[in-house]
Symmetry: C2
Subunit: 148 residues, 2 copies
């Protein structure tokens, strides 16, 4: 009964890209602006952000469930796309997906070691852009139940 949004988290470490749909995300501070995200340690995106110390969190619009679904699958980057979605390089060099309405570019402030099956990543916002003020997609809007 916890309420969560649906986001796409991306990162890049040199030639390797990681992107995944995530929902365990919340703001964690106003000053400085921090975000906390629980991310599977075995995921491509976690390995990329742990190495490069940067990541981009994308808001998904309420009519973009199909785009979020593409990032349930293993990351395939090539030809200027990740899992079929075009991207550009952000200020941190992590990929910014063009089709999503807003994104937050972050530096990894800290990776918290817990005894859980997800790492808690504390992200510091370095840039943000809202191109389209849509209603954000939430887990409650979808038929999905996050199972890890």
């Amino acid at each position: 009964m916890l309420s969560n949004g649906v986001y796409v988290l991306t990162s890049r470490s040199e030639d390797r890209y990681g992107a995944a749909t995530v929902s365990w995300v919340s703001q964690a501070s106003f000053k400085p602006p921090l975000i906390m995200a629980a991310v599977r340690r075995e995921s491509n995106v976690f390995e990329c952000l742990a190495e490069s110390r940067s990541a981009v969190l994308h808001i998904v619009g309420d009519r973009q469930q199909e785009i979020a679904r593409r990032f349930f699958f293993p990351t395939r980057a090539g030809g200027g796309t990740i899992n079929g979605e075009p991207f550009a390089e952000g200020t941190t060099a992590a990929p910014v997906l063009a089709s999503l309405p807003a994104h937050i570019e972050c530096q990894v402030e800290r990776i918290v070691e817990t005894n859980g099956d997800h790492a808690v990543v504390i992200l510091r916002v370095v840039e943000a852009e809202c191109r389209d003020r849509v209603r954000p997609l939430t887990m409650a809007d979808t038929p999905w139940i996050y199972g890890g």
Copy 2:
């Protein structure tokens, strides 16, 4: 554009009670079940949970905005109530509010020091009860904007 639920977090340290409406909360692990919450360091509830190492996270139902509003104000406990809401002692001795539909009793696993204005608290679930499977209240349902 991040999506958040609305919760009431309570704690007790000996004779002192803390209770506050919080929204920066997410699950952080399945095994063991962990929750992460960003909590103002100056709040009564933070001081209580840092001392007692226990807390209760309550789900608020979508028609219970008025109850959540009561926990915007400083904690006043007495006569078996906190801010006017009756409570019972949970398995951790932290107060369980009777009027809210579900709650999760937690031990404090870790308090993460960040340079932010909120502490990131990692909570381990020790007990949970759902008395009424309501639709949970979210920040998007309310006119509120969390300003710290």
